[in-house]
Symmetry: C2
Subunit: 322 residues, 2 copies
C-alpha cells in the first residue's frame, strides 16, 4: 500500500456524530489544517514525541500505543486547564504495516472520540518507529493553569494514584515479580494512562499552579517550585498508591511514587482556604485527589515520612539523556 492510500485508509474519517465537534474547517488532506479557537480563548499547544524503549516498550499492544501517544498530550492540556480541540499526528514507521496501523488508529481514535476531538493533519513517513503528536486546546484568555503560580502556604495536591506505571516497568525489567490481575493493573497504568482533562478544567480559578506528572512526582514538582520561586515539604507516606504497590517494599514504594514517571496525574497547588473547592472540582471530574504537602517560602524540596523524618530528597525526574 502506498503512503497516500495508507493515510487515507487509517487516518481520514468522514465527518460524523461519533467524532466530536468537527471544529476543523479543513482536516487531513490539504497543505494545512484550518481552525480557530472560540472568541476570547487562547490556544494551548503541546507537542510530545514517543520513541520505543524510551516512552513505550516493544511489548505494548498497538491499540494501547495509539491511546498513550494521544493521552500524554492531552495530559499536558489538562495541566493547563485547557479544553482539547484537535491534534496532528506525524508518524515514522519502518514499513506500512496493516497489522500495526489498524489497531494503533483504533486506540488513538477511541481516546480522541472520548474527548470529542479530531485529527486535523499530519505526516507519515518511513523510518525508525516514532510518534509525534501536537495537540491543541483552548482556555479562556488569562485563565490557564501555569507552573509559576504556587505561593507559600498553598496545599500541595495530586490526582489519582502514583507509581503503578513505574512498578510495571520494573516487572518488565525483571526486577519485580507480579502476575495475574496485579500485573494487568499496573501494566494498564503504564500503557493506557487517563489524561485528567475534566479535572484540569474544573481547577481553573481554584488551583494556583499545575503540572502533569510525566517525569516523576519529585522532578515535576521541582519545575513548579523553580517556576514559582518557592519550596515545598512533601509527606511521602501520603502520596496515593494502589494496593498492589502498597504491598511492595517501602523503598520501592518511595521510588515508584516519588520518581516513577509516566503517571500522567495532575500535581497542583491551591490555597488552604480553597480545600472545599478543590474537593468539589475533583468530585465533579470524578477523579480522587489527595493532599500531600505544602508550599513554603524556603527554596528546595523536603521529603519526609508521616512521622516527620526526612527522607533522601534527591529524587530526580527522569532525564531522557541521563
Amino acid at each position: 500500500m502506498g503512503e497516500f492510500e495508507l493515510i487515507a485508509r487509517h487516518f481520514k474519517r468522514a465527518p460524523g456524530p461519533g467524532s466530536g465537534a468537527r471544529r476543523a474547517a479543513l482536516g487531513v488532506g490539504d497543505d494545512c489544517a484550518l481552525f480557530a479557537p472560540d472568541a476570547g480563548m487562547q490556544l494551548a499547544v503541546t507537542s510530545d514525541m514517543l520513541v520505543e524503549g524510551r516512552h513505550f516498550l516493544a511489548t505494548v499492544p498497538p491499540a494501547r500505543l495509539g491511546h498513550k501517544a494521544l493521552a500524554v498530550n492531552l495530559s499536558d492540556l489538562a495541566a493547563c486547564g485547557a479544553e482539547p480541540l484537535a491534534f496532528t499526528l506525524a508518524l515514522a514507521l519502518p514499513r506500512a504495516d496493516e497489522a500495526f496501523l489498524a489497531p494503533f488508529a483504533a486506540g488513538l481514535f477511541a481516546l480522541a472520540d472520548a474527548h470529542g476531538i479530531e485529527l486535523v493533519g499530519g505526516d507519515t513517513t518511513a523510518g525508525p518507529l516514532n510518534i509525534c503528536i501536537t495537540a491543541f486546546g483552548q482556555v479562556p484568555a488569562g485563565q490557564a493553569l501555569l507552573r509559576s503560580g504556587a505561593r507559600a502556604g498553598d496545599d500541595l495536591w495530586v490526582s489519582g494514584r502514583l507509581g503503578d506505571a513505574r512498578l510495571a516497568l520494573e516487572v518488565f525489567r525483571g526486577a519485580v515479580s507480579l502476575t495475574g490481575d496485579a500485573f494487568e493493573q499496573v501494566r494498564a497504568a503504564m500503557e493506557t494512562p487517563q489524561p485528567r482533562v475534566a479535572l484540569g478544567r474544573a481547577l481553573r480559578g481554584v488551583a494556583t499552579s499545575a503540572i502533569d506528572v510525566s517525569d516523576g512526582f519529585a522532578g515535576d514538582l521541582g519545575h513548579v517550585l523553580a517556576a514559582s520561586g518557592v519550596g515545598a515539604v512533601v509527606d511521602a507516606d501520603a502520596l496515593p498508591r494502589s494496593d498492589v504497590l502498597a504491598r511492595q517494599a517501602p523503598a520501592l514504594q518511595h521510588l515508584c511514587t516519588l520518581a516513577g514517571g509516566d503517571d500522567y496525574e495532575l500535581l497542583f497547588t491551591a490555597p488552604q482556604a480553597r480545600r472545599e473547592a478543590v474537593l468539589a472540582a475533583a468530585q465533579a471530574a470524578g477523579v480522587p485527589v489527595t493532599r500531600c504537602g505544602r508550599i513554603e517560602a524556603e527554596a528546595g524540596l523536603r521529603v519526609q515520612d508521616a512521622a516527620g523524618r526526612a527522607l533522601e530528597s534527591n529524587w530526580r525526574g527522569f532525564d531522557h539523556f541521563a
Copy 2:
C-alpha cells in the same frame, strides 16, 4: 548535559527585538504554549517529520538541517497563503551532542527570525534522529488557498525553478557528476530551500488553488487535480530549471523537473484574466513565476513537450513507502 539544560541552552531564548513578534503568551517551559490568532483569522497548522535517509542525507551540515526542518513547514503555510506565527519542535537525538545542536539551532532560528516567528514549545528525547516541527500561521477566515479550487480554463503556474534538489540527490547517489559551483548550487537547492511565504500571501484572492511541490511537480499537481475534479495539460519544456540542470540530458531534465521532489516551490492555478495580477504578486514577493500549462475539464494529467508531443505521463510523486 541533562535534557533540561540541553533544552534551555539551545532552544530557550529571551524575548528580544531580533526574534519577531513575541506573540506567545507563554513559550518553551510550561506544559503548553499559549497564543491566539488575531481576530477574524483562522489558524493554519501543518506538521512535518524529517527522517535521515528519507528527507535529508547524513552529509547535510546541521545548520542547513535546522533551516530545512522549518522551511518545509513554512512551505506548507505558504501554500495556504498563511502568515507564519510560531512553531513547536520535537527532536529525537541519539545523544545530547553539542556539536550538532549548536549549529542546528542556529540554522533553525536564522530562518525563524527571517520570518519573525518563534519557537513556542516542544520536546527533546533520546532516539534515532528524528525532527518533527509543527508550524502555525494565520489567514483571514475563508481566504486560505486550497487544493480544491482549480477550474477548467485556469492557467497553471509554478514559482522559482524545479529539479535542482533532485539533481543534487543524483550527484550524491553517484548517478550524475557535478563539481564546483554547479554542485554547490544544486546542493543548496536541496539543503536550504526557501519557503515562498511572501508569494503565498500575495496570491490570496488571485490564485484559485495552490500546493507546495514537495513530492514532485506531477505528483503534487495530481493532488490538486483530484481535489478540484479537473485535469491538466503541462508543457514540460516550459517548466523552469536552472542553467545547471538545463545542461543535463533531456530525460534527466524531465525526471528532475516533473518528478524530482524537495522543490518547495508553489504550484498554483489562476484564471487567465488574472495573469497581470499573478505577475504583480510575484514581483511584490520577489519570486519569479512561470506559466506552464492549463487546467481542463477532462480528468487526468497530460504532459507534452513544446511541440505538443505527448510525453510519458506516469510521473508519480515520491512515495515514502514505495
